[in-house]
Protein backbone atom coordinates (compact mmCIF):
# COMPACT_ATOMS: atom_id res chain seq x y z
CA UNK A 1 0.00 0.00 0.00
CA UNK A 2 2.78 2.35 0.93
CA UNK A 3 4.75 1.61 -2.22
CA UNK A 4 1.64 2.40 -4.22
CA UNK A 5 1.49 5.82 -2.59
CA UNK A 6 5.17 6.38 -3.32
CA UNK A 7 4.65 5.38 -6.94
CA UNK A 8 1.70 7.71 -7.24
CA UNK A 9 3.74 10.56 -5.82
CA UNK A 10 6.58 9.80 -8.21
CA UNK A 11 4.17 9.75 -11.13
CA UNK A 12 2.74 13.07 -10.03
CA UNK A 13 6.21 14.62 -9.91
CA UNK A 14 7.06 13.27 -13.37
CA UNK A 15 3.78 14.51 -14.80
CA UNK A 16 4.39 17.91 -13.27
CA UNK A 17 7.72 17.96 -15.08
CA UNK A 18 6.00 17.23 -18.38
CA UNK A 19 3.46 19.95 -17.82
CA UNK A 20 6.19 22.44 -16.99
CA UNK A 21 8.04 21.63 -20.19
CA UNK A 22 4.90 21.75 -22.23
CA UNK A 23 3.70 25.18 -21.17
CA UNK A 24 6.99 26.86 -22.03
CA UNK A 25 6.11 29.81 -24.24
CA UNK A 26 7.90 29.74 -27.64
CA UNK A 27 8.87 33.41 -27.75
CA UNK A 28 10.80 33.23 -31.03
CA UNK A 29 7.97 31.45 -32.82
CA UNK A 30 5.48 33.96 -31.45
CA UNK A 31 7.58 36.84 -32.73
CA UNK A 32 7.74 35.27 -36.15
CA UNK A 33 3.98 34.82 -36.19
CA UNK A 34 3.42 38.38 -34.99
CA UNK A 35 5.70 39.78 -37.69
CA UNK A 36 3.86 37.87 -40.37
CA UNK A 37 0.47 39.16 -39.25
CA UNK A 38 1.61 42.75 -38.66
CA UNK A 39 3.24 42.89 -42.12
CA UNK A 40 -0.10 41.87 -43.59
CA UNK A 41 -2.22 44.25 -41.54
CA UNK A 42 0.04 47.24 -42.10
CA UNK A 43 0.99 46.20 -45.67
CA UNK A 44 4.70 46.49 -44.89
CA UNK A 45 5.77 44.10 -47.61
CA UNK A 46 5.39 45.35 -51.17
CA UNK A 47 2.89 43.21 -53.09
CA UNK A 48 5.41 42.29 -55.81
CA UNK A 49 8.13 40.84 -53.62
CA UNK A 50 7.91 37.47 -51.90
CA UNK A 51 7.48 37.45 -48.15
CA UNK A 52 10.83 35.80 -47.53
CA UNK A 53 14.01 35.58 -49.63
CA UNK A 54 14.24 31.88 -48.79
CA UNK A 55 11.83 31.07 -51.62
CA UNK A 56 14.12 31.97 -54.49
CA UNK A 57 17.24 29.85 -53.86
CA UNK A 58 18.57 27.08 -51.64
CA UNK A 59 21.44 29.36 -50.55
CA UNK A 60 22.32 27.49 -47.41
CA UNK A 61 23.31 24.31 -49.19
Amino acid sequence: MRSLTVNAALAAVLLQGCVTINIYFPAAAAEKAADKIIDEVWQLKKPGEPAAPSSNAPQSR
Partner: protein, 141 residues
Protein backbone atom coordinates in the same frame (compact mmCIF):
# COMPACT_ATOMS: atom_id res chain seq x y z
CA UNK B 1 2.63 -7.77 -16.63
CA UNK B 2 -0.17 -5.29 -16.56
CA UNK B 3 1.92 -2.69 -14.76
CA UNK B 4 4.66 -3.13 -17.35
CA UNK B 5 2.20 -2.33 -20.10
CA UNK B 6 1.02 0.75 -18.30
CA UNK B 7 4.62 1.88 -17.91
CA UNK B 8 5.25 1.34 -21.61
CA UNK B 9 2.16 3.34 -22.45
CA UNK B 10 3.36 6.06 -20.15
CA UNK B 11 6.68 6.33 -21.96
CA UNK B 12 4.92 6.48 -25.29
CA UNK B 13 2.70 9.27 -24.06
CA UNK B 14 5.74 11.14 -22.75
CA UNK B 15 7.55 10.82 -26.08
CA UNK B 16 4.51 12.04 -27.99
CA UNK B 17 4.19 14.97 -25.62
CA UNK B 18 7.84 15.93 -26.12
CA UNK B 19 7.60 15.58 -29.89
CA UNK B 20 4.47 17.72 -29.98
CA UNK B 21 6.18 20.24 -27.77
CA UNK B 22 9.23 20.45 -30.01
CA UNK B 23 7.01 21.04 -33.03
CA UNK B 24 5.02 23.70 -31.25
CA UNK B 25 8.19 25.60 -30.43
CA UNK B 26 9.31 25.67 -34.04
CA UNK B 27 6.10 27.28 -35.20
CA UNK B 28 2.99 28.91 -33.91
CA UNK B 29 -0.19 28.03 -35.74
CA UNK B 30 -1.77 31.15 -37.25
CA UNK B 31 -3.32 29.76 -40.40
CA UNK B 32 -6.90 29.53 -39.28
CA UNK B 33 -9.97 31.06 -40.92
CA UNK B 34 -10.62 33.15 -37.82
CA UNK B 35 -7.11 34.63 -37.85
CA UNK B 36 -7.38 35.34 -41.57
CA UNK B 37 -10.72 37.09 -41.09
CA UNK B 38 -9.39 39.26 -38.25
CA UNK B 39 -6.30 40.07 -40.24
CA UNK B 40 -8.27 41.26 -43.24
CA UNK B 41 -10.66 43.25 -41.07
CA UNK B 42 -7.73 45.02 -39.40
CA UNK B 43 -6.01 45.59 -42.71
CA UNK B 44 -9.08 47.36 -44.10
CA UNK B 45 -9.41 49.47 -40.97
CA UNK B 46 -5.76 50.46 -41.11
CA UNK B 47 -6.36 52.74 -44.09
CA UNK B 48 -8.61 54.86 -41.86
CA UNK B 49 -6.47 54.57 -38.73
CA UNK B 50 -3.12 55.41 -40.35
CA UNK B 51 -3.73 59.14 -40.53
CA UNK B 52 -4.63 59.19 -36.84
CA UNK B 53 -1.42 57.38 -35.96
CA UNK B 54 0.37 59.94 -38.11
CA UNK B 55 -1.02 63.03 -36.38
CA UNK B 56 -0.66 61.54 -32.90
CA UNK B 57 -4.35 61.29 -32.15
CA UNK B 58 -4.07 57.53 -31.71
CA UNK B 59 -1.10 55.69 -30.23
CA UNK B 60 0.07 52.14 -29.65
CA UNK B 61 -0.23 51.01 -26.06
CA UNK B 62 2.39 48.92 -24.31
CA UNK B 63 -0.13 46.12 -23.83
CA UNK B 64 -0.82 45.45 -27.50
CA UNK B 65 -3.79 47.71 -28.14
CA UNK B 66 -4.42 51.20 -29.51
CA UNK B 67 -5.76 54.17 -27.60
CA UNK B 68 -7.00 57.69 -28.22
CA UNK B 69 -3.99 59.70 -27.12
CA UNK B 70 -4.81 63.26 -28.08
CA UNK B 71 -8.45 64.03 -28.81
CA UNK B 72 -7.51 67.60 -29.69
CA UNK B 73 -5.70 66.35 -32.78
CA UNK B 74 -9.05 65.21 -34.14
CA UNK B 75 -11.60 67.65 -35.58
CA UNK B 76 -14.80 67.57 -33.57
CA UNK B 77 -16.72 66.08 -36.46
CA UNK B 78 -14.40 63.08 -36.61
CA UNK B 79 -14.17 62.23 -32.91
CA UNK B 80 -17.01 59.79 -33.01
CA UNK B 81 -15.40 58.04 -35.95
CA UNK B 82 -12.02 57.76 -34.21
CA UNK B 83 -13.57 56.36 -31.08
CA UNK B 84 -15.36 53.79 -33.17
CA UNK B 85 -12.17 52.85 -35.02
CA UNK B 86 -10.20 52.47 -31.79
CA UNK B 87 -12.90 50.33 -30.18
CA UNK B 88 -13.25 48.10 -33.23
CA UNK B 89 -9.49 47.74 -33.61
CA UNK B 90 -9.07 46.74 -29.98
CA UNK B 91 -11.88 44.24 -30.28
CA UNK B 92 -10.14 42.64 -33.27
CA UNK B 93 -6.75 42.66 -31.57
CA UNK B 94 -8.14 41.06 -28.45
CA UNK B 95 -9.85 38.40 -30.55
CA UNK B 96 -6.66 37.86 -32.54
CA UNK B 97 -4.52 37.16 -29.46
CA UNK B 98 -7.18 34.85 -28.05
CA UNK B 99 -7.62 33.03 -31.36
CA UNK B 100 -3.89 32.39 -31.85
CA UNK B 101 -3.67 30.95 -28.33
CA UNK B 102 -6.75 28.84 -29.00
CA UNK B 103 -5.47 27.64 -32.40
CA UNK B 104 -2.38 26.30 -30.61
CA UNK B 105 -4.46 24.66 -27.88
CA UNK B 106 -2.79 26.94 -25.33
CA UNK B 107 -5.35 29.45 -24.08
CA UNK B 108 -2.95 30.26 -21.25
CA UNK B 109 -0.53 31.75 -23.79
CA UNK B 110 -2.90 34.60 -24.65
CA UNK B 111 -1.09 37.12 -22.44
CA UNK B 112 2.35 36.16 -23.71
CA UNK B 113 1.11 36.43 -27.27
CA UNK B 114 -0.36 39.86 -26.54
CA UNK B 115 2.92 41.00 -25.01
CA UNK B 116 4.88 39.73 -28.00
CA UNK B 117 2.57 41.56 -30.40
CA UNK B 118 2.75 44.74 -28.29
CA UNK B 119 6.50 44.84 -28.78
CA UNK B 120 6.36 44.04 -32.48
CA UNK B 121 3.62 46.58 -33.28
CA UNK B 122 5.84 49.24 -31.69
CA UNK B 123 9.01 47.99 -33.39
CA UNK B 124 7.32 48.11 -36.78
CA UNK B 125 5.52 51.43 -36.27
CA UNK B 126 6.43 54.28 -38.58
CA UNK B 127 8.57 57.17 -37.41
CA UNK B 128 6.41 59.90 -35.92
CA UNK B 129 3.82 57.55 -34.48
CA UNK B 130 3.25 57.49 -30.75
CA UNK B 131 3.63 54.50 -28.46
CA UNK B 132 3.69 53.86 -24.73
CA UNK B 133 7.12 53.11 -23.33
CA UNK B 134 7.65 50.56 -20.55
CA UNK B 135 6.70 53.14 -17.94
CA UNK B 136 3.44 53.86 -19.77
CA UNK B 137 4.45 57.33 -20.98
CA UNK B 138 3.57 58.35 -24.55
CA UNK B 139 6.67 58.57 -26.68
CA UNK B 140 7.10 59.74 -30.25
CA UNK B 141 8.94 57.28 -32.42
Amino acid sequence: MRIENIARLGWLALLLLLAGNAWAQANLEVNTPAVAALQSSMQKRHAALASFYGNGAVGLTRDGFVALRDANAVPLAQRQQVNGLVAAENQDRSALYREIARANSKPEWENDIRTTFAQRWIDKAQGGWYYQNNAGAWTRK
